[in-house]
């Protein structure tokens, strides 16, 4: 990591104001400071920032699971008991989160260290997503930095994509709120409204002071319009203590960030992470104040309230003496003591990195705050970050692949598997054996020249697991599709590496699901049993939510693809096309186009009428 002196654009104020960035100067001090930039190698970004950010997010998910089963933790985090159900329900429903920011100490010489997680109401988003990207493009065009530079930054594209995924079906209307009197908060919310609008959502703003409660228990905006989906730039710990806190659970409102984020936005998270992963290279030893283990921290540590904003009530202790402290109103809920991180001294500046996540996927860096040589926060934003790599390494929407994938199979939901099987037999297809999935569905397959048709129905609905963060429920998707009607609901393409493809989906922002593995016994034509096994990588297509896409890696292909099963009375020789009907085929077809490889999908509709995307797909 290098700190670079860069000539500011001569008209930088006008340029950032053109973007709508009004708070570049606060209290007479320059907040947006583009005289300095930080350069990283690709290895530093990928291995030292991006990977640890993803790993820490995974630890946070594990912590939420643990906390919801342990009342002592909920008490320790000072979560009001009356809100435990609200939090638990939001997690069990799989309420989506939008964004968060890890503050990391990183000097380019050792592992990045987590200072804290702004999981609930992070700001400085607009600067990171838009202003610094615009700076990068202009700085290259004006020769202020090298033309081969790039930036780890897909925040804007990810936000737009995720707004379409916050709820199924895609929400029509969404409210946004923050408190009056904060230009930074309002600027952040205005930017998010713009992203939501680009996702096709009817985005409405209301100040939190204008919100009311309707007689039926729902919250409403200043015009008495019911609020069903609400982004609130207002911390959960404050909401829990408002006079209308008792109305939260019964409001039928989906909140963004969801209530479960209250568990990870507390600095009380940090001692538990250290307890769960002691010695983790990206964590600092941290304990609750009063814990005897605090003695292990020695004479140098930082004392932080469980809940605070902008560094208030934080005390830096060096050599056993208070070196620095900030006053503030926080601390009633208790404190943590955290080992002191070594911040890099770059020309007398001590930058802290903000590693952004959107829907739990790392997707950008920004400078949340710099620290001057006295370790006091100041308002210079100094992290317009760039790195010399090929463009679009983090591009939207597709993982980098130019190789067209073959079709693996099509999933066709039917109410009566036996009746449908008989019908396909009448059509002249060879009928496969009926198989039962452990997650509640039952299927029979019809291989057709290297691909197959999978007829599927619900066998035991009680076995179907719900969707959960990072866990795609195949059974739930099939069940929901069947509830809309019989027919094809999923298109499945080949994979040679499902785990790698899942990572590619995650990096490209088109699906954040763990790869799914399963196996079962199958019967050969001679009656002998063999093992078949599969690994699946699921993708999400916000423009076509009812159309499922995933990749399937056959782990025992020699046992699955048997020529004897592919001889059909109707002489079918291959699957040649899949038909998708969409009002906007261009948008809906982006995902399959990317998965198939360029030029493999043709859409031919236009205007406002429905149109069809079709694609030759046999192997």
């Amino acid at each position: 990591m290098q700190r670079l002196r860069v000539a500011p654009r001569k008209d930088w104020q006008a340029e950032v104001e053109r973007l709508g960035f009004a708070y570049h100067t606060l209290g007479g001090e320059t907040y947006w400071d583009e005289s300095v930039a930080y350069a990283f190698s690709l290895k530093e970004i990928e291995e030292e920032i991006e990977a640890p950010t993803s790993e820490i997010e995974g630890l946070c998910f594990a912590f939420v699971e643990r906390a919801l089963k342990d009342e002592e933790i909920l008490h320790r985090l000072a979560i009001p008991e009356a809100q435990w159900g609200l939090i638990r329900d939001s997690w069990q429903r799989g309420d989506r989160n939008l964004y968060g920011r890890l503050d990391l100490a990183y000097d380019g010489k050792g592992p990045a260290k987590l200072l804290e997680y702004n999981a609930d109401t992070p700001t400085s988003l607009f600067e990171a997503a838009v202003v610094q990207w615009d700076w990068l493009e202009q700085a290259m065009a004006r020769g202020l930095i090298s033309r081969g530079s790039d930036q780890f930054n897909s925040l804007h594209e990810r936000l737009i994509a995720v707004f379409g995924q916050l709820r199924h079906p895609t929400p029509q209307r969404m409210h946004f709120t923050c408190v009056q009197g904060s230009s930074e908060d309002k600027g952040t919310v205005d930017y998010l409204i713009d992203c939501a609008s680009q996702a096709g959502i009817d985005a409405r703003f209301t100040f939190i002071e204008e919100m009311g409660l309707l007689a039926d228990g729902r919250f409403c905006d200043g015009a008495s319009l019911p609020i069903e989906l609400l982004f609130k730039l207002y911390p959960w710990e404050w909401l829990f203590r408002e006079q209308y806190a008792s109305a939260l659970a019964g409001s039928r409102c989906q909140f963004v960030e969801p209530p479960w984020k209250a568990l990870v936005s507390s600095k009380g998270l940090l001692p538990y992470l250290w307890e769960m992963a002691p010695g983790h290279p990206n964590l600092l030893p941290t304990y609750f104040e009063g814990d005897p283990r605090c003695a292990e921290l020695g004479a140098n540590h930082v004392r932080k309230p469980l809940y605070s904003r902008e560094g208030a009530n934080v005390t830096l202790v060096e050599g056993g003496a208070v070196r620095d402290s900030d006053d503030g109103p926080y601390g009633a809920e208790g404190f943590i003591l955290q080992a002191t991180a070594t911040l890099p001294n770059l020309d007398g500046n001590y930058p802290v990195l903000g590693s952004w996540l959107v829907a739990s996927q790392p997707c950008g860096l920004g400078g949340p705050r710099g620290y001057d040589s006295d370790h006091k926060e100041h308002l210079a934003l100094r992290a317009a970050l760039h790195r010399a790599v090929a463009p679009n390494a983090y591009g939207w929407p597709m993982p980098e692949t130019t190789q067209a994938r073959g079709l693996d199979h099509l999933v066709i939901g039917v109410a009566d598997l036996d009746a449908a099987g008989s019908f396909y037999e009448k059509l002249g297809f060879r009928v496969g054996a009926r198989n039962r999935h452990p997650w509640g569905t039952e299927t029979s397959d019809r291989p057709v020249s290297g691909a197959f048709l999978e007829l599927i129905t619900i066998g035991d609905a009680t076995l179907i697991p719900p969707h959960a963060p990072r866990s795609f429920s195949f059974g739930a998707f099939v069940r929901d599709a069947l509830a809309r009607g019989e027919g094809m609901s999923m298109q499945v393409l080949e994979s040679q590496d499902a785990a790698g493809d899942a990572n590619g989906f995650r990096a490209a922002g088109i699906g954040d699901f763990e790869p799914f593995f399963f196996e079962r016994q199958a019967r050969r034509p001679d009656g002998s049993e063999v093992r078949v096994a599969f690994a699946l990588a699921f993708a999400e297509n916000p423009a076509a939510r009812d159309c499922g896409f995933f990749l399937c890696q056959q782990l025992e292909p020699q046992n699955f693809w048997n020529p004897a099963f592919q001889q059909h009375e109707n002489k079918a020789s291959g699957l040649s096309a899949v038909f998708m009907v969409a009002q906007e085929p261009g948008r809906a077809g982006e995902l399959p186009r990317g998965l198939f490889g360029s030029g493999e999908l043709c859409d031919a509709g236009g205007g406002s009428a429905p149109a069809v995307a079709a694609r030759g797909a046999s192997r």
Binding site: L410, I412, E486, G487, A544, L575, V578, A582
Partner: protein, 69 residues
């Protein structure tokens, strides 16, 4: 494929807002035996140019198209 052709072949009335999979196409070297088979077994079907189409309404919600190949 034009919206009009899609509407005819796939039984689409244009009223469904969400994108959906309407069906698939299968190749076979000779369509005439398939046409005879469908007729003999009283399976609803119609010709669309060189294709044979079993409409979704007769095929568990999934249009099945046979084409030569």
């Amino acid at each position: 494929m034009t919206p009009g052709a899609a509407s005819t072949m796939l039984d689409d009335d244009g009223r469904q807002e969400q994108a959906y999979f309407a069906g698939f196409a299968v190749t076979a070297p000779d369509l005439e035996p398939i046409r005879s088979r469908l007729a003999e077994r009283d399976i609803a079907h119609h010709r669309e140019g060189a294709r044979l189409v079993v409409p979704a309404g007769a095929a568990f919600g999934c249009t099945i198209v046979f084409e030569q190949g």
